[in-house]
Symmetry: C2
Subunit: 477 residues, 2 copies
Amino acid sequence: MAPQLEPFFQKVDDLSGSFIDRLRKAVAIPSISAQDENRPDVFKMGQFLASELEALGAEVEQRPLGKQPGKEHLDLPPVILARYGNDKNKRTILVYGHYDVQPALKEDGWATEPFDLTVDAQGRMFGRGSTDDKGPVLGWLNVIEAHKKAGVEFPVNLLCCFEGMEEYGSEGLEDLIQAEGKKFFKDADAVCISDNYWLGTEKPCLTYGLRGCNYYSISISGPAQDLHSGVFGGSAHEPMTDLVNVLSKLVDVQGNIMIPGLMDLVAPVTEEEKSLYGDISYSMENLHESLGSETSIHPTKERTLMARWRYPSLSIHGVEGAYSAPGAKTVIPAKVIGKFSIRTVPNMESEQVSKLVFDYIKAEFAKLNSKNTMNVWLQHDGKWWVSSPKHWNFTAASKAVTQVFGVEPDMTREGGSIPVTLSFEQATGKNVLLLPMGSSTDAAHSVNEKLDKRNYIEGTKLLGAYLHYVSEEPINA
Amino acid sequence: MAPQLEPFFQKVDDLSGSFIDRLRKAVAIPSISAQDENRPDVFKMGQFLASELEALGAEVEQRPLGKQPGKEHLDLPPVILARYGNDKNKRTILVYGHYDVQPALKEDGWATEPFDLTVDAQGRMFGRGSTDDKGPVLGWLNVIEAHKKAGVEFPVNLLCCFEGMEEYGSEGLEDLIQAEGKKFFKDADAVCISDNYWLGTEKPCLTYGLRGCNYYSISISGPAQDLHSGVFGGSAHEPMTDLVNVLSKLVDVQGNIMIPGLMDLVAPVTEEEKSLYGDISYSMENLHESLGSETSIHPTKERTLMARWRYPSLSIHGVEGAYSAPGAKTVIPAKVIGKFSIRTVPNMESEQVSKLVFDYIKAEFAKLNSKNTMNVWLQHDGKWWVSSPKHWNFTAASKAVTQVFGVEPDMTREGGSIPVTLSFEQATGKNVLLLPMGSSTDAAHSVNEKLDKRNYIEGTKLLGAYLHYVSEEPINA
């Protein structure tokens, strides 16, 4: 056991009641970034964090980000930048989190008031933002407080970057990260983000990869206006007919992407990589439980996780411009836009992917011999991210998990994207670790969001232990 | 020239100013059946018609239809049932029209106030309801007035059935028609409906056929709730992938329905029928003008009109449950419902069509090997209608057209449906003629709806002349 951890752990247990109170106060502030009327609450939550950090002895700045683009009557909430400790002999660790939350109304189906933290007999703490991401953010504050009150020397210099617009596209954050890469963040030796989830409910994980996402639109247009299908059906080319034809050529029902050359861009699986999957605590039952159905494609856990984490996938999201309401309408839509996206993985470069997509769709449309007009374009892209799970930032975190939970963490990736991860990596040039606090059943973004008391209190211990291990982990590890 | 027509024609010309005034008064009443707040205006319009008919000497009844289903706070507007003349030695002609209109707001893009009839230098009379269907309905009233004022004996007994809910699905009408088939309508020798349009702008037409419509939904469902495409893309069967596959198998880009056996149900084209198409006043330029594009499927007028009128067509209308808004959302929809309809023609029976559709779609879905669940069902159907253009009701109308316009009418069908046509045929057992007043450029249901003064005034002459010819047309013709 690393020195100093026992008194720190003991103090976290002693303070657990006040740590839950801190979370209760934070949950009570409905800091919903997507709703204009709650903007003052987002500011209030930023002030709450700033005050708590100052009370703990951190230097805090509430960095304004200006007006909200497209909603200029609203000020963007500030990024809370904080520094705790400034000792040249210690490593500096940059941590990120967000203090805004998703909307929530009791009427949506919550069993309890969403902004009133409610702890049940099993220690489940229900409340909007409990797990996403107020619990993890407060975890860092709890770590500072427990060290102070236990009289344990803080092992690192801590830099905090807490934003208030994450649930609304992190407006303004990217520019700040890039601008501060060589300024406020310049001392950072490594980065740690706690804003994702364990793969299951029992075993912690460290996350070393994320898929990227290229989002495409295909528009097909013909007549100048929507047509009556009685009057024109059979005599004019229908854009919707063309579109379902093109969309049906993108991916097969078993999930195989049918765009020639695309799979050639995917990095081959190494034996070493393969060996990581067998031990991961996950089962087909876990998948079926989260799907709410048994409509899985692959027969095994390993193939399922690889399909989710390290292979690309293509999903068709919908059609804009066609009839989408309940009931029946006999319209021939004049212009329809199909939307699909490709989740990307190493070594798929966005430009290469787009070229293959565009060439293929143009060729398939040409084969149709339609007189309609087709366009295809990239709506947005975000790059995949993969880090080395052998970096000292990860090995330190792994030791911390083993220390606190008595088990080695699963090394996982995620199928989705967390764009800020890549931003921090690019701006600082340092390794980024994703160290989740919550579990797979926490229902972030959904009704009855919760954080288990165990995940919060042991998770606070984990964040503290991580700082100790990362302060002394050999760079060559 | 049939006796009595010259003085009638002269009187119509003399009264044209007051006939336009009558239309102006009717257009000024915003009898929009789809908008709750306009329901009193629909009643006002019914009262206007009843008063005018009574002033002309007709026996009038405003038949109540009870509460509006699903909107029980609203009374359905009455059906105006009127009888003009009761001479056992004359034929009795039943005419139908509707006095409600589509919604209209100046802000929608009207050049003039939609409920203020505005006549421009070219004699175009702009106003909501001018052509659909207040002009034709008032045409019958004008015919009575001109006969009275010219001192010309009215050639037939006239039965009127004018409804006030046509633009909202003719709520309550079907029951009334079937109930009155052997009561109020029992004397009818033939039926005439003026609620459609010329194929072009110069040449009148008589319409003897309508396509039917079978409307289908295909639902495909998999997971219990919408999924994040990052987390689940590649590991679960996606309902939208299955749906675009199935939809792509229904119809090809050239409009050929791919459901095996369906085309075998279509009545073969006879040589006599073929001969009707060559003379019809229509061109590919007309089609391209109404499409606003040159995205026609067929190279000739004849094939275009046959594709529209006497062959079935299949249109895909849209998808319910998928992402349909502008922008980008990375959702995997849990349940999607594809909507399509088949325009039907003789001799396609609805049950036969549905059996072929269901069998084919089930077989195609089975081929996909998806674990998702598929259902397909008929949302609604309406039968096609074809009458004989050689019936005396038609030959009489043809002579009237030749008399008034100096040209033989085109014998046309329509690609869409007018369900009331079949209802009157079934309830009365008599021939139904569609005798349009307005032209193809009248923009019914759209902004700047209009009726040309020529179509209204010469159209009034046509309705009167038709009554004279139909009163004496030999039954064997």
